[in-house]
Every structure is written in structure tokens, then in C-alpha cells.
Symmetry: C2
Subunit: 303 residues, 2 copies
């Protein structure tokens, strides 16, 4: 767990769910602070059609403002859903593309208008194009642990999709629990199976906290070899195209937990808490995260 990567997805997965559009300047200020907090990757936005998700309409503009910042190790990622998004992302300086296809046919059709097979084929094409352009790529299997429309998703289905990614030379793979259906034993089983396909695979996890299992699932994924974790400031988030979805694990809660164990002490937890508090104040409602409300455990350290 010492090489664990922290991927903050709040500016994308958090803000895309909000009714109100956050002004670009406000987003920029939050992201600039995230960029100095010690997380490894910040997901700036999504290259979705601006009319479909107006909350993400300024993604290109945000990248143009942010990528010029020097003296940093943090990577700026962007979500793309199709070739058009890839074009936009390449044009504005995206440093890591996140893209994926859903293991659920129904979710895939509702989200993209395509079957899973077609979406997978097109995503693999776009991902290889991005790699060829010299940009990092992470590919995902959405609804990997169950689907709000279809219910259970066969693990073999998920592993087949992972196998296709690996065969295409895409070895940075995320399993996303879009509907929040995952439970720890399932998570551990599936990540272990992915690593059996290829021990060198970079495994990312993305859990929604719909049924209260987000944090438990992260720890199960880490146990089975996940190397990167996606979380959201203050616990904001969800997916607009699933039936029920409620929140991600809060970044500051997860970092707080890691630091209780002496891990990722390089991250500036106070800064993350400050950002989460400002995000909560901006929306003016109770957020799902804990530590931005309680503050960190005062004594620090572990027994």
C-alpha cells in the first residue's frame, strides 16, 4: 500500500451530479488547491456533450488554465466517453484519459446508446489512439459489481472485458461500482481474479457508497492488490445515468484512515479537509464525508 495512488475525482464525479453549475473560477481554485495537497491525480472534468451535462461544459477551459502550472507532480485526468471527447481532450492538454465501457448492456445503452461490445471496441480504439499520442490512459469496466437496472453482473463478463483491454495493451484498469452494489468479499474475489489475468496490471477502484460499503470495499480492493483509489472531496458524487447512486468515499476520510496507519503521510490532510469544508459550504448542505465535520483525530499516530 505504500505505492498507493490517490485519484481525486470530486471535480468530475462529484460536481456532475449537482443541480447547480459551479462557476469555472471556483472549480479552478478548488483544483489548484487539490494540486498542492499531495494527491497523485486530479480528475478535472468530463468531455461529455455540454447540453447533456452542463456542469462539465467548462472542462476544456479548465484544462487550458491548469496544465500550464509548473513545478508539480500531480497528473490532471479527464473522462472521455467517445472519440469526440478524445479529440477535445487532446486539444486542451489532458495528461491522463479515463474512459470505459459498462459490463451492463442496459447501463451501456442508457449511458452511451451503444451495446457493451460496441462501446468496448470503440473505447479500446480511442484508448490506443491516446496512448499513441503519448498520453496516459486508464480504462474501466463500469457496473463491474452489479447494475441498478440489470442486477447481478457475471464476474466472467467483467473478466472478459479486462482480458480484451489487456490484449489491446491497456494495462491500467479500473473496476467501477457504478451502482454501489459491491460487497467486500466480491471485491476481493474480483480484484484477485484480475491480477491472475496479469500480475503487472495497474488496478484502480471506484466505489459508490450507496449502501454504506464504500470504505469497506476500498480496503478489500487494496487487500487484493488494487494500486489506485478514486475518491471525492466531502464524499460528493454519483452517476447521473444510473437509477440509484449516492456519493463516493470522501477523499479526506480515506487519507485520514491511511495516515492513522502511517501511510501516505506526504499528503496534506489539513488542506484536503479545508477544500472539503469549502465544497460543503458552497453547496450549503450536509455532506456524506465525516472528517471534514469532525476534524482529524487530534493526537494523530497509532497506538
Amino acid at each position: 500500500m505504500t505505492d498507493l495512488l490517490l485519484h481525486e475525482v470530486g471535480p468530475r464525479d462529484g460536481l456532475q451530479m449537482e443541480r447547480s453549475v459551479v462557476p469555472t473560477d471556483v472549480k479552478e481554485s478548488w483544483i489548484r488547491r487539490l494540486m498542492t495537497a499531495g494527491v497523485d491525480i486530479v480528475q478535472v472534468g468530463s468531455f461529455v456533450h455540454p447540453e447533456k451535462v452542463p456542469q462539465m461544459a467548462d472542462t476544456d477551459e479548465l484544462f487550458r488554465r491548469l496544465v500550464t502550472q509548473k513545478d508539480r507532480t500531480v497528473t490532471l485526468s479527464g473522462l472521455v466517453l467517445n472519440e469526440k471527447g478524445l479529440e477535445r481532450g487532446l486539444a486542451c492538454g489532458v495528461e491522463m484519459f479515463c474512459m470505459g465501457a459498462s459490463a451492463s448492456e442496459t447501463h451501456s445503452r442508457k449511458n452511451t446508446g451503444m451495446s457493451t461490445d460496441e462501446a468496448l471496441r470503440r473505447i479500446i480504439g480511442a484508448a490506443r489512439q491516446a496512448l499513441a499520442a503519448g498520453v496516459k490512459v486508464q480504462v474501466s469496466v463500469q457496473s463491474a459489481f452489479g447494475c441498478g437496472f440489470e442486477g447481478p453482473i457475471a464476474e466472467s463478463r467483467v473478466l472478459d472485458m479486462v482480458g480484451e483491454y489487456l490484449a489491446a495493451g491497456l494495462a491500467n484498469i479500473s473496476l467501477a461500482d457504478t451502482a454501489g452494489h459491491a460487497h467486500p468479499a466480491q471485491v476481493e474475489r474480483l480484484y484477485a481474479a484480475v491480477r491472475r489475468l496479469d500480475a503487472a496490471v495497474q488496478c484502480t477502484c471506484h466505489f459508490h457508497n450507496t449502501y454504506g460499503l464504500g470504505m469497506a470495499n476500498i480496503f478489500a480492493a487494496l487487500r487484493a492488490g488494487a494500486t489506485s483509489v478514486e475518491t471525492s472531496f466531502a464524499g460528493l458524487g454519483g452517476c447521473p445515468f444510473t437509477k440509484v447512486a449516492a456519493g463516493n468515499v470522501a477523499t479526506e476520510d480515506f487519507v485520514h484512515a491511511l495516515q492513522r496507519d502511517g501511510l501516505r503521510m506526504d499528503v496534506n490532510l489539513e488542506r484536503l479537509i479545508g477544500i472539503a469544508r469549502d465544497v460543503a459550504a458552497h453547496f450549503g448542505r450536509d455532506m456524506q464525508g465525516f472528517v471534514h465535520k469532525t476534524g482529524p483525530i487530534p493526537s494523530g499516530g497509532t497506538p
Copy 2:
């Protein structure tokens, strides 16, 4: 995990924290429904001084009403803090005594007016008296994972206390995360160490969700051999004598998670959800639990 015991502590640990006193008839109706929901133990109340915690003043009366119920496998437990509480509990038919001492000197003194050593000596005496009277006993180490006043608690301190319990013939032992400081790696380490002291020990876990780690800690404890889990309806709870405390893991959330894995399918989840909804409606505010709000995952089962 198939022999996992479910101990519902909402009527005690949940209600003791509420400003308003729940009428005895309402408590009785909730507990009677819990008694038919498939959980193994229900904690009816606490034998604390009625002026100190008026929410628990009707504990004796509740036991008198409930213990006469025939045809049940569920055990009715009660928390006692001292010899006086034990007397009261023996007189009204408690079927399982829960008692404990804090590993934190400061917490012990604030909670009981005694040092840890004195509290431990007196609890062991009371526990042996209860056993001699033919009643089940569970003894606990409170603040086992850290203290809101003192900060870190040495693991050796906790293990010494467990060793004293074991030496006194008390083999049903709970580690309580009173302040919510535990993290999964610590939990797994400590439960494993307890089981190394005595592999036959019955280990219970009790985690507060103050920093968002309650559910993750439960799964860590189960992995290390915990055999009983204390949770609270709707996620109500905390400890009135610690500085910061917020909620337990919700019983229905935990059972929902177990049943996603095919475990404890004997428990009536719908009934637990109904109780949690009524508890939430009674207090009229948003509760920490998830599943009583979302409902269970519709499809059931696992991939």
C-alpha cells in the same frame, strides 16, 4: 462467518444518546419486533443511574415485560456498570450481562470515577458473580483502539486486560472502539493478538463510525476472527461520556452486506429496515444508516 452472532444494541447504545426519552411502550414495540427479526441478541438497556442517563430509566421495567416472551431464540442483554447494576439486572431477568472497563485511565475516571485497574477488578468480580448466577456474560475493553481524551492506547494495555479476563474464566470478550479511532489494519492486528492469547475466545466487535470507518473495521475484525458484531438500528448511537462520538454501523446496513454474500439469510432484512424507518420517523431527522433510506438492492443475490 457462518456462525456470526448479530447483537443489536440500538435500544441501549442508540437511545442513550438521544435528548428525548423514548416512551417505554414505544421501546417495547421496537424491541419485540427486533426479537422476531432474526438477530441473536438484543441489548434492551443499561442499568445506569436513572438521574445520570434518564433515557435508560425504564430498563428494569422493559426486561420485566420482555423476558416472559416464550418461543424465542433471541437473548436479551443488558449493560451494567457496577455491582448495583448487576443486582438490578439479576432481579429483572437479564439473560446476558455486558460489562466492561476502559483501557483509558481518563475515560475510566470520567465514566466510572474509578481507575482502570479498580474498574477492571470490580467488573471481573461482578462478571464472576453473574456467571455463578447462571447468566451469560460478555466483558469488554472500552476505548480499546484509542481515546478521545488520551489519544493512542497501547495494544499491550488492551491485551493485558484481555489476559486478566481470560485468567478469571471470562472468555466472551468485546473490544469497543468507544471514540471511533480504529482503522482496519489496527483492528485486524488487535483481534489476531487476542486470539493468539486464547484461540477459543469469543470475540465481539463494537465500532463507532465517528470517522467513517465503522463498516470497514467490522469486516477487518471478522477477517481476524471476531465472532459477534454489535450494531444499532438506523445507525443511531455513540457514548455520552466521550468527547466526540457519532453513530454505530446500522444493523440493517450490515445485514444487507452479509446477505449480498449469502450469509445470515435467516435474518428478516425487511423487518429490520421497517424498524429502522420507524426509529428514524420517531426522531424525525436524517439518520446515518443507508439501507433504510435506499431500500435493499432490488435484484438480491450476488453475481
